[in-house]
Symmetry: C2
Subunit: 278 residues, 2 copies
């Protein structure tokens, strides 16, 4: 049996929020200040470095931080590296953008922990997940309150699941009249996925349905576009965009888009029927 | 036509996160430091007061803050009060727990703005929504990564929508094999809703499906229970609990619960078929 001991390291999987350093929680900042090693995709490591460099924070890190920046699409390798460092007794922070539990590094770390070849000592590590402001919440805040009623959240990156699963989920989400948030809508390698998504939405939702294309929210590259499903074009999305789709009650008020808290199936699509919404 | 002018006030709708002051973003803290008026449900106003009282923050508020604490279930009145104060030229912060856009005050403010009797000047106000860590993300982080794959988020409070809508959404979410997050699972006035939810889940998901009852996460009252659907009992939830339901692939590793990023419908429930999942 493996028991933790005094020199056992610690692994913290931390969410850096949508991009703005002012949206990183103090809990995450404290974890970074205590870190021996920071592991992550290189733009997120750079964001953590920028946070620790801020003049507003009078504290300096307790020791020289080792920075381990890696490329995209190596999440499992990165997770193993972080676990191995923690198993050496080091204080390790894995940084994710947004929230680490939403299409980010937390699941990758637990997958690495569960793998058949994982050292048993890893299971005894002190692991903590520190939540953050995930992209859809930052995007929704900028637009108003489009996720103010029941909603779903779908990763459009189809290298981890078959397209048929995505298509079925979108159809059922439309039948449920959920507002929807789509992450990773358009990759360079598979740009056709988002084209198909718009076709699917058009088959299940009315042309007036409101969409929000929220790109790089809270960064200098921020761009927000609101349009109807009829007006939506695939090139409005890229990999830095989160796409929000309202439910059938989502509306504009002034420059804002919001979904009311109440829901009346007489006014809205009748989700209690067994058919698809129009 | 109404145009903003120099003395126009500002309304900020801010998320205070799950409870721990260390999970309130610096952006929200800055808004509170600049506030003339803070408006909210009384425990959230108390949380904002506790934040500003923290010794770690050397800055004092720019001026004496007027605190406007009100009871639950008066969201629209509170929204109108905040808008009216901002229209007087004041810097107003409406505080919500978690994220203001998820079953919280942001939609209520936009509803008040849209109401037929709303003064037209309100539409010209400088309004900003500041996101926060919503309860399901804090709960998921404590448990591991149960929302690491596609998921949905449903408010079980049925005073804003008919139960038939909730029931249909849960059924469709189970067919889609979404992980699910349920807010406000059990109110004093309608405790039967959560009993019916468990019945619904049992009709659509296998008995081994993992559930997480996360109560008052990140506060001194925090309590986390993980069990199977078969073991779940209605009294495990109250109004301070968020209930997370895994998808068919959600599993335990050590003391953690997580949902893998990948999804193989051969291993998991076959969501591509047209029937319900077992």
């Amino acid at each position: 049996m493996v028991t933790p001991h005094a020199t056992m390291g610690r692994l913290c999987i931390a969410g850096l929020g949508p991009g703005d350093l002012a949206q990183i929680t103090p809990a995450v900042r404290e974890a970074l200040l205590a870190a021996d090693d920071v592991v992550g995709y290189f733009p997120y490591v750079a964001r953590a470095q920028a946070l620790l460099a801020q003049e507003a924070y009078t504290q300096a890190p307790a020791q020289a931080v080792q920075w381990h920046a890696s490329d995209n699409r190596v999440e499992l390798d990165r997770a193993r590296q972080a676990l191995a460092l923690a198993a050496q007794g080091r204080q390790v922070v894995v940084v994710s953008s947004g929230d680490p539990g939403v299409f980010a590094m937390a699941s990758a770390v637990f997958e690495a922990l569960e793998a058949a070849d994982a050292p048993p000592a890893w299971l005894a590590l002190d692991i903590e997940v520190l939540p953050g402001v995930t992209a859809m919440l930052a995007a929704a805040a900028r637009a108003g309150a489009p996720l103010g009623h029941d909603f779903c959240c779908i990763n459009l990156s189809d290298n981890l699941k078959p397209w048929a699963v995505i298509a079925r989920r979108v159809q059922l989400a439309a039948e449920a009249d959920f507002a929807m948030a789509f992450y990773n809508p358009r990759s360079r390698s598979r740009p056709e996925g988002f084209v198909r998504l718009l076709e699917l939405l058009r088959a299940h939702c009315e042309p007036e349905r409101l969409l929000i294309f929220a790109r790089a929210v809270s960064t200098p590259d921020e761009a927000l576009q609101v349009c109807t499903l009829e007006q939506a074009r695939p090139e409005m999305a890229d990999m830095r965009t989160v796409v929000l789709v309202g439910n059938s009650s989502t509306r504009r008020v002034g420059r804002w888009v919001y979904t009311p808290r109440y829901y009346d199936p007489v006014d809205a699509a009748d989700v209690t029927s067994n058919g698809s919404t129009p």
